[in-house]
């Protein structure tokens, strides 16, 4: 049996059929492929926040300061959302609507923009006219297509941008709010967490330092109290021992006991003052006082010590009408401590100079300068700490080390500053600065 020959017409119909079917099936294949690709791309995009959270945890485990964590998070956002620009912005304190770029990929850190009103969410496309805020944000990062999210409580914002609308995936759209809101929330969370950690670390360090200081304080206090007490007990035992010492020796023992007692009394007064000033700001009785009166009184009060060591104390000429607004007794204590220290650490035949002047806007600068042993540079910051006596063996025999800390406390109670400058082997200059309005001409 032979088959019927296929007519040309039938062949053409068959060809047309297969061609149509091939094209139809091909088109379906094309659309299915594209659908699969689009789903995969959207899935990748939707993984942005999940990846950010992972990255945030990774960063949280590192010793990275809060200020630096924005960039790695932006890198994750830019990678998963495949955008050309990504920036975190902060609304400036006290300037509502003014934003500054804090971290950026593809844009300039420090660039600013002013928005009024501030939208919570915003995006641009080519088929809708851009709001003025959108134009400002697009100009800020130099691309036309943007996606913006703002969180008003933390006053932070995330801005993404593309130079082409289609980018890889598609134009920005309303459903992208979830992505930018989520990404911004992760950033804010990890930022606050890092800041809280930093504050906690700082508080822990401060507490440890305070604990160390307290331990050092107690150790120094015990030592400082024990030394004069040993003298008192020792000489008292000698006097009570029944041994014949002779009148001169007996008087010497009693003088030693008296000196140790007085030293102990002065030290306890210093400790009480220091402790009192540490716990609360001393109550000041402020009044106008001629500075010349104050300084002369201070010099007179320590003249015994300076004469004993042959130290010259000069007070540079002061205008009699130069008055300062201070607590006379407390400031006498400052001067007494500064002059006492200067005498203590200046050798025989040395020189101490007091000067004072009215500074800008009626502030006061008071300087005590000596030609003593000076302080080594690295020790200068420590000399205003309690019970610190620098300078090795010289210092260890010369008091409790509370003079400068008390002077500093009292100066600060007046709203001023106490500054120490020194050249080792040449001398020390202590400057007391009182704030503006502390001086006048009578």
């Amino acid at each position: 049996m032979t088959s019927e020959p296929i007519s040309r017409e039938q062949l053409e119909r068959e060809l047309a059929f297969y061609r149509t079917e091939y094209n139809e099936v091909g088109a379906r294949l094309l659309r299915l492929q594209e659908e699969q690709s689009r789903t995969a791309r959207e899935a990748r995009r939707s993984r942005t926040v999940a990846r950010l959270i992972r990255e945030a945890y990774r960063i949280a485990d590192q010793q990275m300061p809060a200020e630096l964590l924005g960039e790695p998070l932006l890198a994750v956002i830019a990678d998963t959302s495949v955008c050309d620009r990504a920036v975190f912005l902060r609304e400036e304190i006290g300037r509502p609507g003014n934003f500054i770029i804090e971290q950026a990929i593809g844009a300039s850190v420090g660039a600013t923009v002013c928005l009024n009103p501030v939208p919570a969410f915003l995006y641009t496309t080519s088929v809708q006219s851009a709001r003025p805020e959108a134009s400002a944000l697009a100009a800020l990062i130099g691309v036309p297509f943007i996606l913006w999210a703002y969180e008003p409580i933390s006053q932070r914002a995330l801005l993404l941008g593309n130079s082409t609308e289609s980018n890889i995936h598609r134009p920005f759209e309303a459903s992208d709010q979830e992505l930018v809101d989520g990404a911004l929330a992760v950033y804010i969370d990890v930022l606050l967490k890092k800041r809280a950690e930093a504050a906690l670390h700082q508080a822990k360090t401060a507490a440890e330092e305070a604990s160390d200081a307290r331990a050092a304080f107690l150790a120094a206090l015990s030592h400082e109290l024990t030394t004069p007490l040993n003298a008192i007990i020792g000489f008292s035992e000698l006097l009570l021992s029944g041994n014949e010492h002779g009148e001169a020796k007996r008087v010497d023992f009693l003088r030693q006991i008296l000196d140790a007692g007085r030293g102990l009394h002065a030290m306890i007064k210093d400790i009480l003052d220091f402790s009192s000033f540490s716990n609360k700001v001393p109550l000041l009785r402020l009044d106008w006082t001629p500075i010349s009166t104050l300084l002369r009184a201070a010099v007179r009060a320590c003249s015994t010590g300076s004469h004993a060591k042959g130290i010259t104390v000069d007070v540079l000429p002061l205008s009699p009408d130069f008055q300062v607004y201070l607590d006379y007794d407390k400031f006498r204590q400052i001067m007494s401590n500064l002059l006492g220290n200067a005498i203590k650490f200046t050798g025989s035949g040395g020189r101490i100079c007091l000067s004072s002047e009215m500074t800008a806007e009626c502030g006061v600068s008071l300087v005590v300068k000596d030609t003593g042993i000076g302080i080594e540079t690295q020790d200068i910051p420590r000399v205003t700490e309690p019970f610190v006596q620098v300078g090795g063996q010289h210092g260890s025999k010369l008091g409790a080390g509370l003079g400068l800390p008390i002077a500093k406390q009292l100066t600060e109670a007046h709203g001023g500053q106490l500054l120490v400058a020194s050249v080792f082997g040449e001398g020390t200059t202590v400057t007391v600065l009182l704030p503006r309005g502390s001086a006048r001409r009578s």
């Binding site: 061609r19 091939y22 094209n23 099936v25 091909g26 088109a27 294949l29 094309l30 659309r31 492929q33 594209e34 699969q36 690709s37 689009r38 789903t39 995969a40 791309r41 990748r44 960039e71 790695p72 890198a75 830019a78 990678d79 495949v82 050309d84 990929i105 593809g106 080519s126 088929v127 593309n162 130079s163 082409t164 609308e165 289609s166 980018n167 890889i168 598609r170 134009p171």
Partner: protein, 407 residues
């Protein structure tokens, strides 16, 4: 006989960092004690090119740096297309270090620039040598216009004359969106520049082209075309034909998303021979013009009468093609003294764009037997010997080439 010490070598390095200087420092560390004579660098396009060049110069001093932007970089130690990657190949010794040729005048005409470059390379080369072309793909930004690799390659081959070289190459992009591209040459960042690396005569290359597109339409004749802009297919407006296939309307958008979806493919040889991916030359769609009803291709090498088919990306086919192609290459390089594996990978093949479940670059790395240094980059166009003959530009392909040394 005393043992000889081979001081000539090629090493590769990869890093990804927001700080390009840090990335270069990391790469320098990976190169070890090598004192290279030439650095080939592929720099993620989110890095500032001048900062990148400064970083390279700080790390490598006076060593010449060539290469340029890349949509991403690929290496055994990592790959990506974030725009912050840095991939390097460092060549040490005259036996492996390529000679660099260049032409800075692509804007004046790609054919002429290619011809000048080809003539220069011909003078310095012998048959069988390997040459690698690189150029910045983006000629103009608005509207987007590319430097056509087909014209450049045609000019280059013309300039080579009878010289038979193994030519591979790629277009340099800053990102997958084709935002820009730039080239490093002569200690400067350049635009509209093509460079050719001519490898020493003792070096040969084995190259495979990895595909991933399948025809989804019957044959269509191009009935009207102006340059790369196809106006009509089978007498109908070209865009309408494509829209009908896709079931979408491009509308008022630029149609750039079409480049994600379909290509036009020209089947070489017998049009009715069974499907073989190696028989197709694909052209991606750059943009669509709803007013003119046209689609513009990446290359202007189709003419009136060219028979094309609409091609669909096929992610599964792409991965199968990688396995097939790399397996063939493994066979070709078996027992060879391999110096460098180079992968020029169309940016569209990255999973972020193709939507493939597996990164095909990862599959390439996993299946390639060679243990020699590897560097790759995501490109705008790929150039490779087609069916073992003369080289031509390709779209949506991966060009995997292994350089070997004659024994």
């Amino acid at each position: 006989m005393s043992p000889t010490i081979d001081t000539a070598h090629i090493r590769t390095a990869y890093s990804c960092s927001l700080d390009v200087a840090e990335a270069f420092r990391a790469c320098r560390g990976q190169l070890g004690a090598a004192e290279p004579d030439l650095i080939l660098a592929f720099i993620g396009g989110k890095h500032d090119p001048k900062e990148a060049l400064t970083a390279a110069q700080q790390v490598f001093g006076e060593v010449p740096v060539v290469g340029g932007s890349a949509a991403g970089a690929i290496s055994p130690s990592g790959y990506g297309y974030t725009g912050f990657e840095v991939g390097l190949a460092a060549f040490t010794g005259p036996d492996v270090t390529p000679t660099v040729f260049f032409d800075h005048d692509l804007r004046e005409g790609e054919v002429a620039a290619g011809r000048r470059l080809g003539e220069a390379v011909r003078m310095g080369s012998s048959d069988g040598a390997v040459a690698m072309l690189m150029f910045d793909s983006v000629a103009e930004l608005a509207p987007l216009k590319l430097h056509p690799a087909s014209r450049l390659t045609a000019g280059f081959l013309d300039g080579l004359g009878s010289r038979q070289l193994h030519v591979i190459g790629g277009g340099l992009l800053t990102d997958i969106n084709m935002s820009d591209g730039w080239v490093f040459h002569g200690g400067e960042v350049r635009k509209h520049t093509v460079i050719a690396l001519l490898f020493p005569p003792g070096i040969r290359a084995s190259t495979v082209i990895l595909h991933g597109c399948r025809p989804v339409s019957s044959f269509l004749d191009i009935t009207r075309i102006e340059g790369a802009e196809v106006l009509e297919l089978n007498g109908e407006r070209a865009l309408a034909v494509v829209e009908k296939m896709l079931g979408i309307e491009i509308g008022t958008t630029s149609g750039q998303q079409l480049s994600l979806i379909a290509t036009l493919g020209e089947k070489q040889g017998d049009p009715f021979a069974p499907y073989d991916e190696n028989n197709y030359v694909n052209r991606l769609i750059l943009r669509a013009d709803p007013v003119r009803g046209s689609i513009t291709l990446f290359e202007p090498d189709f003419t009136v009468g060219t028979r094309v088919q609409i091609m669909s990306r096929d992610n599964l086919l792409m991965l199968e093609s990688v396995e097939r192609g790399v397996s063939n290459l493994n066979g070709a390089i078996k027992g060879q003294d391999c110096l460098l594996s180079m992968y020029i990978d169309c940016a569209g093949r990255a999973s972020v764009m193709s939507g493939a479940a597996t990164e095909e670059a990862e599959l390439v790395l996993a299946t390639l037997d060679s243990t020699c240094p590897f560097v790759g980059f995501y490109s705008g166009v790929e150039i490779a010997p087609f069916k073992g003959h003369y080289s031509r530009p390709l779209d949506w392909t991966g060009v995997l080439s292994v350089l070997t040394r004659n024994r």
